[in-house]
Amino acid sequence: MSLIAGVDIGNSTTEVCVGEAAADGTIHFLTSASRPTTGTKGTVANTHAIKAALNRAMSSIGRTISDISLIRLNEAAPVIGDTAMETLTETIITDSSMIGHNPSTPAGAGQAVGEILLIDNLSRGIPGTPYIVAADDSYSYEEVAAILNQSADTLDIAGVILKADEAVLVENRLRKKIPIIDEVARIDKLPDGVLAAIEVALPGQTVRMLSNPYGIATLLHLNAEETRTVTPIAKSLIGKRSAVVLKTPGGNVRENVLPAGEIYLNAENSASINLDEGAAEIMKAVADAGKIHDISGQPDTNVGNMLTRIKRGMGELDHTPDADIRITDILAVDTLAPVLISGALAGETCLEKAVGIAAMVKTQHLPMREIADKLKMELGTDVRIAGVEAVMASLGALTTPGTKLPLAILDMGGGSTDAAVISEDGRVTMTHQAGAGELVSMLIETELGLGDRHIAEQIKKYPLAKVESLFHMRMENGQMTFVDESIDPRFYGRVILLAEDGYIRIEKELPMEKIVQVRRDAKRKVFVTNAFRALKSVAPGQDLKNISNVVLVGGSAEDFEIPEMLMEEFADYRIVCGRGNIRGTEGPRNAVATGLVLSYAGERQ
C-alpha cells in the first residue's frame, strides 16, 4: 500500500490529488486540494504552491506529506498565455472646452447660453448680455442666492455653475428659475468671458441639445466646419444628466487614430494584418493562415512591443542558450475602453476603440526537471515527471460518470483553452489556444473602467445583486431575497457581489445591468470563440459534427454561466456537452492530477 500524489501546475492554480495504490493495482482516491500557483507556470517558484496544496490535502485526512511515497508531476505543455490591451483611437481636447457629468442633484431644467462670469466679477457685468455665473465653494448657497437675486434686476443671468453640491439649495432660494449645474470640481479652470452653453436634463431624461452636434451649433452659433469638430464632444455627452460646453477660440477637439501596427503571421500561408482592422479580420487571418510557426509585430509599434514583451517574459523561463520561443496563437477581441480625455475639465472619459489580445507562447520545453529535483530535495520523496498534460486530463475527465470513448475535452483554464480528442483506440489529438479566464478579467476591467484587476476577477466569478432595502436585495435574475438580520448599511443601495463568504461592494457606481452585460459579453467573446476554434482543430476531419461528447474541465468550467453558454451554442451540433465531474465528486477541477494518479496504475500493469 503506497500513497501516490498527482500534481498539476496550471497558469493560475496548482492542483493535487492523492490516491492509495493497492497491491492488485487498483487505486483508491483519498483527498485533493488546490492552491493559487506561485510564480510563472514551469518555474521553480511553483514548488511553494505544490507544497502548500499537498499539505492541505494531507492534513484533511490527518496525515503528513512524508507519508507520500511518490509524487507525479505532469509534463506541463510548454505554453504560457499572456494578455495585453491596445487602444486604437484617442480623443484630445486642445484648450478645455467641455464639462459633462452626472451630478446626482442638478436643479432647474433646460438650456442656457451666455458668457462665463465669475461671481467675484459680477459687478463688471454689462446689462443686456446673457451670463452664466460660476461660483466656487467659498460662497455658501445662501450667499450665492442672495447675490443672484440682487443682480437679477440689472443683469441677464441665464444659468449657474457651482462647485459645491448645492444646486437645489440655491434654486429653492432664487426668484427667477434657471438651470443650475453643481459638483463641477475644476471650476477654477473655467475661462472668464467665454461663451458657454449649459443644459440640465428634465427629470428622468438625459441632455438632448448638447449631446447633438447640431444642438451645440444652434446654441453656440457654429459654422459647418466648427460643428464637425465638436462631434466628439457631443458623443461623449450622450447619456449625461447635465453638461457644459464652452466655445473657446482656437479650441479644438479631435479624434486621433493611433498607429497600431501590423501583425505578421509566419505560417503555412504567411500573412500580415493591421491591428486596426478589428478583431474579426485578425481572427479570420489567423484561421486562414493554417499551421502557425510564429507571430510577430511591426517593430516600434505598440503591437510589436507587446508581442516582443511577451516573448521576452517566456525567454526568462527557458535558459537554454538557443531557446526557441515562438508565439503560436493569438486571440483578438474587440472592446471599448473608457479613456480619460486629455484636456477635459472634470475628468470626463470617452469610449475609445481597443483590441484585447491573448497570445500563446511556446518554447521547446519547460524546466520541469528543475522543479522535480527541488521538490525531491525538499521533501525527500520520489518525484517523477509523467505523462502529457492533455492525455492526463482526458484520463481524469473519463472518471466523470456517463462518459465513454471517443471523447473530447475542453480544458478552460486561466491562461489558455486546450482541447483534446481521444479516439476509441486511445490516440490523442490536442491543441492549445490563446485566451481564457485572464483575458475575460482584462476585458471586464477595461470595459467597466475599473482600474483594478482584483475586483474584475471577482465580478467574473460571482453573481450580482442590488441591495434595495436593509432587509432585501434583488438578484441579477430579478429574484428577490429577504434576510432576517438587517444588511450592513455600507451595502445599502449598492450593487454587490454574492461571494461565498459574504458580500463584496462594487465601489464604482455602475448599473447592475451594465455590469451583467459586460461580464456576459466578455465571457462569450473569449470562451465561445475559443471553444469553437479549439474543437474544430482537433475534431476528426476538422468537422464539429464528428464530435459527440464534450466534457468541460478546468477552472473556468466551474464558472456559474460559461458552461451553460457553451451548451446552448453546441446544441445546434447535437453535441452532448457539460461540465465534467471528476471522480463523481470533484466537479470540473482536478482532471490532470487525477489522471496522473490513474496512469500510475496503468504503468504498473
Binding site: 429653492n172 434595495e468 436593509l470
Partner: protein
Amino acid sequence: MIIKRPSIFIYVNHPDPSVLKELCAGIEEEGVFFDIKEMDYDSPDELAWNAANDSMLGSGIGMCRTHAALQMRGIEKGHNIESYLAPDKEQSRKLGANSARAIKKLAFK
C-alpha cells in the same frame, strides 16, 4: 388618502442650530421634505428611533445638542445607521443627505 405630505422626521432636544441647519440643507438638496419636532427627552438613540418609526417614509434623525443620529424603520433601537457626537459642517450635511438617500434607495454618501 394621504393627507399629510410624506417627510423625514427630525426629533430634537436643545439642538445645536448650526448642525441642524446643515442637516436640513442636506435633506433639501436631495429634494425630500422634512419636519422638525421638539421633544422633551434627550437620548439621541430614542429620538432617532421614534422619528424613524413615526415618519411615513421610515427615515428619521434624532438630535440632542450636537449629537445627531440617523435611523430607519425596522432597525433596532440604538443600532443607528450613522451617528456623530459633534459633526462638522460636512458631516452634518452628509447625514441629512443620507437620511434622504435612504428613502430614494440610493447608496449612502
